[in-house]
């Protein structure tokens, strides 16, 4: 009987594991990654554009990548990669940028991968048709909210601390309650 129960419990756990892959945790929201830009004025007549690859990516007939232009980059532009989950829900994490010269020809292309980190692109200019830049990396963190007010999102570190502190307080109270109970039971 004991063996039978153990096997049954094993099957249940296995079923839970398989089910987990199929749907329980795929909607997990990960921290959004941001790509922001500084010093776009130093581009001069050149234009940096954020492009999205059209469906199919590579056209075998004309033998080149097919782009869909999205935005011209400026200091105010922030590219966000928010969506994320597991496997098939994973969004496109790559950001494609093209440098276009005043005649409208592509002179440089860059690809950035955005996941778990925020990137700031410090543009210093253009040299021989190539973009001169440096990047700063910072950890992307989830925007915790302590109250429903959207403006409080700015104090993310504080909010995170409050979440952790509240949880710790709860576990301490729990431990204290258990400790008290044992004392009562033994006296």
């Amino acid at each position: 009987m004991k063996h039978l129960l153990t096997v049954l419990a094993g099957f249940l756990l296995l079923a839970a594991e398989l089910k987990a892959d199929a749907g329980f945790s795929i909607r997990r929201q990960t921290a959004a990654s941001h790509l922001s830009f500084r010093g776009t004025a130093s581009l001069g007549d050149y234009r940096l554009v954020h492009v999205r690859l059209a469906s199919g990516y590579y056209d075998t007939v004309i033998q080149r990548y097919v782009y869909r232009f999205a935005d011209t980059v400026n200091d105010a532009l922030v590219i966000v990669r928010q969506d994320g989950g597991k496997r098939w829900e994973e969004s496109d994490r790559y950001v494609h940028l093209l440098l276009i010269d005043p005649a409208g020809k592509k002179t440089d292309s860059l690809v950035f991968f955005l996941k778990k980190h925020n990137l700031t692109l410090q543009i210093t200019g253009v040299k021989d048709g190539k973009l001169q830049y440096s990047t700063e990396k910072s950890k992307a963190v989830y925007d915790y909210t302590v109250t429903g007010d959207e403006e409080t999102i700015q104090g993310n570190k504080v909010s995170r601390g409050i979440f952790i502190g509240t949880s710790l307080l709860g576990f301490l109270l729990l431990a204290w309650t258990l400790y008290r109970r044992r004392k009562i039971a033994t006296t």
Binding site: A16, E17, K19, A20, F24, S25, R27, R28, Q29, T30, A31, Y142, Y144, T145, V146, T147, G148, S159, R160, I162, F163, I164, T166, S167, L169, G170, F171, L173, L174, T177, L178, R181
Partner: protein
């Protein structure tokens, strides 16, 4: 999901669903609901957004923890604690998913 909504929701769900099982010790039951909401709610939010932990395991862990607490703090009866923990945590998980998406 805002922390205050999370805590109020967890507390209301837990206290209401525990009540039919532990009606005779309702005060202790309410206190336990408040304390476990405070401990577990923010903790699983952090787990959910910052780690890749399988939430079936978290769900199972919450049930085991609650059943253990019911037995050691409210009434020494596993046959009552197990269904109570299952019911409470199932509803709590639904609420958590509604809020966090």
């Amino acid at each position: 999901m805002p922390l205050i909504l999370l805590l109020i929701g967890f507390f209301l769900l837990k206290s209401l669903l525990q009540l039919p099982f532990y009606f005779k010790r309702w005060k202790e039951s309410l206190r336990l609901a408040a304390i476990t909401s405070l401990a577990v709610g923010p903790f699983i939010t952090i787990l959910y957004h910052e780690t890749a932990v399988d939430f079936w395991l978290v769900y199972l862990g919450m049930m085991v923890l609650d059943a253990f607490l019911y037995v050691y703090l409210l009434q020494r009866n596993w046959w009552k604690a197990a269904p109570a923990a299952f019911l409470v945590n199932t509803f709590v998980m639904f609420y958590f998913y509604l809020g966090n998406g």
